[in-house]
Symmetry: C2
């Protein structure tokens, strides 16, 4: 087995030096945008632009030809007109460059001529032992290596999601989405036409990647079905895989075909393939990332018994209904838990499940003593909490106590920061899955801080319940895969 | 038939004067929060606090007893300890007040004693011909009357959603959610225990309310089933109704019972009731409001043929798949439309459906000429557009053209404003449903402005497709109801 740093994708995602074809001083060209985004994330490797006329590009010495570069760069990035891509790749081969990302389109996704040109790329790569991503792709991001040669600047922070995508948009156009929803990529690949490196190889790389806790796949069609299943089965026992497949409906199949030229198969075939491989299937892109948020942040649940903590009846009832419809159970609380809760909640509160605290005696106990008691109950496998933003009430309490508006704001901010940390400690202490839901913006504290700390919070209890269902399904797959029962499939 | 302004709920939602029991100068008491939120929305009617000790409350002259108030207020709002609610209501009756909101809890939702106390409220109301909302409710909001006697200040702007909710949280805790998603309430009622006015009467009121374009119902259990169906059937031909029912699963039923004491029924019974009445059923709260966004903003579709406009293959394919799974069709484009498009899109673009423009020749044409051509196609019933924020590219183009960063920002802002308006004009011109989807924040322009102008935009194509499915279902119901085929049900 090839070690992680020896894998061809390692140098594509972690190059120490790159040669850039197609970046110029015209800031709105694709190549320039990609170089700009690379610099914006703080890439610290060496950059060698090749340009036929310019002496410098974005402040770097530009070279007329790749041969003129004083070293052999780890990676070539090609953002060039279709007709000159093959010759350029050949020159890279002659230079001794072993890895490339070919962004240019106009190949097998277009017509017979494009197919022929793509075959030529493959032949050149084979001749020079070049491994490449693309063509017709949007590149790669490795947030830990501060490397983002894609056309869009990355928002947010490094995360734990490893993506392999048959759509470049679902790499680049998700930076902002993930950031807003408390997630981030570790490494992401836009695989394009998969002329040399395919999605299976990307998945295998992400399986080994130490920064990746969960793998997300956007699939329009898989060519190497057997290899795909085999590779996934090796990964699933130690890392969850979530997939969105859009080729199952006639409309999705046609759209995918015109996009990447991939051949999709009937829904049931893919369904079977995913089940066999132990891959969780999502039905939309937002659901795929919802699942990632839970799978990357939560420990294995002991069972499917969910306790719901709320201070409002309606949100409790919708969560209960969503859990019920997702096959989760709502256990009653033990006598001991009820005893622990009674000094914490008002007499009008309901100590059924959902635990409805109505207006709490001490609203801060929602973040420490109450979830601590609920997670401590042996009948509780999972805790789901409804969050309303307590700022508005806290601010009032502070002002009431004689503080000025500014003092009250500062004090409230401190408290909110404190309770986020307390809840996180409760989660760690019990090592049981804890999720939240809210109808407020995820950009507000305490929700924002809790999300960043690793408590998955969703904008609807249904999304939280589906994510828990995915979590339970994953640990079921993992158990069976570890047990070896699936070896003969 | 009672005219709209003669309905008992009219004075509850549009009072010219109110008496407030339970507000004080202690800012964090429930009654004080409610008075504060009322003032914050700019209520212009007269306010008479009643307080046993204070001389003024929130700057208003306070009265010891309701009898001391110089006029007969339109509405009494009671936020008092359970035990003194009935006597206070009786005094209101003696004063001649005809309408009340009883916020206080501790009635039939608790125990036998509470049930008895609620019966007493009903008897008093009958004796004095008082119509009241509650008890155990969170009040009402009428954004057009600037009237918000609820514990939470209202975000955002007046909207077209009329809500009748068996959860107070789903009134007050949705202000922020709706604002962030481009919606707002016209009038919303928290019905509480429905001891006097029930959800059916609220629905009837909203059916007549001129500011309400679509009615949303949060239901844990309906007592007057026949009346509910009859009332809904009258409303549906001129106004859509969307309902979320949570009592259908065992978990949801139990939770609802412990919340409002309502008796829920099996899922199938409610499903049948909704279908018979022509009510669209949503499966989550966010879906309910997703449906409202489409139903309140879009004209009747002529059919189910959706054209998808995108500049990225992946988002096009996920939208196609989502449409396919939601029973929508993707027609081909007519020869004439293809001719119109060819000068507008690059030669690498796909003129199948999805129409994938890849990188546009002129990215602004995505907001005018291209959707104009697509909506003009006789085969297009509905247009669905994928939005990426063009700001980042525009800004670069502007700077490239020699403008300073600040000038480029201003110019970009102007252009973005302009294109939002252009797309809105295209929508109006063709009078066909137009929806959008994006993975960016809905708080960014141009999406934010387009949302405010009435173009429904969702954070996932699946949500958009489900909303279109609801739109088509509604116009199917409407047609059948108008045709009278359902009269004998």
């Amino acid at each position: 087995m090839t070690s992680f740093t020896q894998k061809p994708l390692y140098k594509i995602a972690n190059p120490q030096s790159i040669v850039f074809f197609g970046a110029s001083n015209n800031a709105i060209r694709m190549g320039s945008l990609m170089l700009d985004a690379t610099l914006a994330l703080g890439y610290e490797g060496k950059i060698y632009p090749v340009h036929p006329k310019e002496d410098t590009v974005a402040g770097f010495t530009a070279y007329r030809r790749v041969m003129d570069i004083p070293i052999i760069p780890d990676l070539a990035i090609l953002v060039l007109p279709t007709d000159i891509v093959a010759d350029t790749l050949e020159e890279c081969g002659q230079k001794g460059i072993g890895h490339a990302i070919i962004v240019s389109g106009g190949f097998s996704e277009t017509n017979a001529k494009g197919k022929k040109q793509e075959k030529r790329l493959q032949a050149i790569a084979d001749r020079y032992s070049i491994r490449f991503l693309g063509p017709n792709c949007l590149g790669v991001i490795n947030t830990y290596h501060r490397f983002n040669p894609t056309p869009i600047k990355a928002d947010g922070f490094p995360g734990f999601i490893g993506l392999a995508s048959q759509s470049g948009s679902f790499l680049t156009q998700m930076f902002n989405y993930l950031h807003l929803n408390g997630m981030g990529f570790s490494t992401g690949f836009s695989v394009g036409n998969e002329a040399n490196i395919d999605i299976v190889e990307c998945m295998e790389y992400l399986g080994d990647c130490p920064n990746t806790k969960v793998i997300a796949l956007y699939i329009e069609g898989i060519t190497r079905g057997r290899a795909f299943i085999k590779a996934a089965k090796k990964i699933v026992p130690h890392k969850p895989i979530v997939a969105l497949y859009v080729g199952g409906s006639e409309a999705g199949r046609k759209a995918g075909f015109s996009h990447t030229g991939s051949m999709a198969g009937p829904d049931e075939i893919y369904d079977g393939m995913f089940r066999q491989a132990g891959i969780i299937r999502a039905k939309s892109l937002s659901e795929m990332f919802d699942f990632c948020l839970a799978l990357g942040n939560l420990p294995a649940p002991k069972g499917n018994r969910v306790v719901i903590q709320t201070h409002s009846g309606g949100p409790g009832a919708t969560a209960a209904d969503a859990c019920g419809r997702s096959g989760l159970e709502l256990p009653g609380l033990s006598e001991e838990t009820i005893k622990k809760l009674s000094p914490l909640i008002p007499h009008t509160a309901s100590i059924n499940n959902p635990v409805d605290m109505t207006f709490s005696k001490n609203m801060l106990s929602e973040f420490n003593d109450i979830p601590d008691a609920l997670l401590g109950d042996p009948n509780t496998d999972i805790l789901m909490i409804y969050f309303l933003n307590p700022n508005i009430f806290l601010q009032g309490i502070m002002e009431q106590s004689g503080l000025s508006v500014e003092e009250a704001q500062d004090k409230t901010k401190d408290i909110i920061k404190g309770i986020s940390e307390q809840l996180f400690e409760v989660k760690v202490k019990h090592d049981k899955p804890l999720v939240g839901y809210t109808y407020r913006s995820l950009q507000e504290d305490p929700v924002k801080t809790m999300l960043q700390k690793g408590i998955p919070i969703y904008n609807d209890p249904e999304r939280a319940a589906h994510a828990l269902q995915a979590l339970i399904t994953y640990y079921g797959y993992k158990k069976r895969q570890e047990g070896g029962q699936w070896e003969n499939h």
